[in-house]
Amino acid sequence: MEDTDSGFDMIDLGKLAAVFFEECTEHLAEMERLLLEIDPSCPDQEALHALFRAAHSIKGSGGIFDFSDMTTITHELESVLDLIRNQQLALTPEMVNLFLQSTDVISMQLAGHQHGAAVDQQANDSACAGLRAIMADFRTAPGEESATPAVHVAVPAAGLQKFTIDFIPSLDIFKRGIRVENLFGELASLGTLSSFAEFPEVPELHEFDPELAHAHWHLSLEAEATEAEIRDIFEFVADDSDIVIKVEEPQASSAPPAVSPGQSTLPASHEPASAKTNRETADGSIRVGVRKVDQIINQVGELVITQAMLSQIGGSLDPVLHADLYRGLQQLARNTRDLQESVMSMRLVPINLVFSRFPRLIRDLAAKLGKQVELRIFGESTELDKGLVEKMSDPLTHLVRNALDHAIETPDVRIAAGKPAVGIVTLRASQIGGKIVVDVIDDGAGLDRERILRKAAERGIDVNEGMSDDEVWQLIFTPGFSTAEAVTDISGRGVGMDVVSRNVQALGGKVQIFSKSGQGTRITLSLPLTLAILDGLAVAVGNEKFIIPINAIVESLQPSAGDIQSIQESGRVLKMRGDFIPLIPLHQLFSIKEAANRPEEGVLVVVDAEGERVALQVDALVDEQQVVIKSLEENYRKVPGTAGATIMGDGRVALILDVGEIACQWHGRLKDLAA
């Protein structure tokens, strides 16, 4: 028999490795998240278990690939975590930092194995040393100081019990690196174990896949242990294996839990009433490549266009004569709509994917800068297209770094200014009128108007004192503009604002700045909601058609002359339920000649334009349709007042209106006319 080093086929190894890298990355991210959230004075028991499990998984899989550097440090980490979760060791803030350092090291090692990236050996050594020191201290610590090595908390000393365990493992249990022999070894160490393996159907040798677990096990264990302890041993395989544990001859179990001496010195850990829901839901999930999803989305998009075309053709036929066709087309429309919704939701991910990196970033950065910063996050479950999320990451990171570096003052400066020593950075995401709006808010020093004007003047930009605040803030988007006194290595040259703005605009979005000196700054990014499909209302203005996003629409109406008033410098307004709503004649804005001039001859569509209500005057409503958003920027450029275009049923292009920009444009126009 030839002696081969590894039994893996090169192809299989590659695929398994890819899965390993992905899963490891997820485990590390989960650990980081848990560590950042955990409260050492009162650690959440579920979180401790989850941390242990994650480390254990990494160790197990790392072992299969012989990544000994990872398994070494993970083993140390796991051992310490095990003590902590079993209440044998108290968690301290220093330990949390050490654990974070350790996960960093493991990440580095992972990158080393995956991409050949360099690994900082010193960081690894110091983390390992730290962990070993904890273990060493634990082992030598006198009984009263730290916990006595009791096995578990609240263990009812129940006496000898006999358990029968039926264990049907999932087929891939060996491949996942689970060492069943060790599992059973642990059981055996609890007491006396008899085990019987059987095959439900013994396979023929030539048909047999030795890498899959075909055996079913019946175990019999006599031990002074609780069922919980036994389940614990199976915890890593419980999810997809069948485990049935029965207790025979139960002892009297009404004795109150005996707490071993020494445990009262530890802070009580708490089990939350509802389990933290960060585990996978019972339905499970499948990994699918992003490209496949995109392909499906494109195909569904094309399907929508075809369906729209068919509907239009069908619409021109006599419904009575072609009743069946009509019904069929309606059914098709429904089916397409459902398919589309399902497909689109595949690419939607919560923005938390981007937000999640900030707690760590802020923690490290604040420490480096000697500032105290608290991060508040709202709307983290706001969903947006995966592609958008990835592209937002850089601009947002830059803005957050800027806030810490330049905006938030050091504690002494803050206190002198009458502010609390801890600065607050807020990240807020929400969905408004077909857009995703992300705010980065700080309560720092605010933008320095004078400094910006000075710098602009220095650069030869035409400025004057009379410029509005908005106009002054816009100056920082000039390429190469930086008011940072010195180039710090933290946020780089500070020239990032123009890059941020460009990045955001490339996504079809925009950046706005609001700032008050001494109080703080708010930077608002707004981006189109999805990259592909929109519920819209098609309207006609003259011979042209436009699409208004449905979720921006409040209502539409046919006004009578009495509802309209003309106000000097405001143009026309609509009187509606006591309010005066600015009326925007689209045919004027878009220079369309053949349109109805007077509002009462047309239809008014009242929309929510980023908080402000305006009434868009159109000639007629055409119909509601779901449109596939096509990019104008791809081959042309951004057209003000629009959020992309679409292809109608007749094959013509129609522009999708950006009601916020339209309102802005209109106000700008009125100002110009008044001037």
Partner: protein
């Protein structure tokens, strides 16, 4: 309805030559690098875009992709223009974008050797001479060779946001 688009392939040319698509504009004949040409279509179903220069006719739907159309005849002030079944639109692939230009007509594809091309003197052409790559003689025709990419990406065409 749209006429069937002609798709032009890079046909096999004698070695050393470069191929040019010749087209008419304001009575003069021009040539452009054939490799930039994607297809030739008729003029149809153009959606206007408000507040753009006159030569910017709007956008069309080219098999699901939105493509801007520029009328070169208007851009270079070549008299009154009409749009009909014989109006020609050349669809180009420039700088990773697809754009279309309206011209008076399209002739044929000529292969030219580098020796056949002379630098352009300051002649009075409707087109700004900085976009002219040279002059060539072919079959007793004088061809003005145009750097179509440079022309269409220039800021006054306003086709592209070149900040990126």
């Amino acid at each position: 309805m749209e006429q069937a688009p002609q798709i032009i392939n890079g046909a096999s040319a004698p070695s050393g030559t470069k191929e040019y698509l010749t087209f008419n504009l304001g009575g003069e004949e021009y040539g452009m690098d054939i490799l930039k040409v994607q297809e030739i279509r008729g003029y149809d179903a153009v959606t206007r875009i408000a507040n753009t220069p006159e030569f910017m006719k709007g956008v069309i739907n080219l098999r699901g992709v939105i493509v801007p159309i520029v009328d070169m005849r208007i851009k270079f002030n070549l008299g009154t223009v009409e749009y009909g079944e014989f109006t020609v639109v050349i669809i180009l692939n420039i700088l990773n974008r697809v754009v279309g230009i309206v011209v008076d007509g399209v002739s044929d594809v000529v292969a030219l050797l580098p020796e056949q091309i002379r630098p352009a003197p300051e002649l009075s052409s409707s087109m700004d001479t900085s976009y002219i790559a040279g002059l060539a003689n072919s079959d007793e025709r004088l061809l003005i060779l145009v750097d179509i990419e440079k022309l269409l990406s220039s800021t006054d065409m306003q086709l592209m946001d070149l900040a990126a």
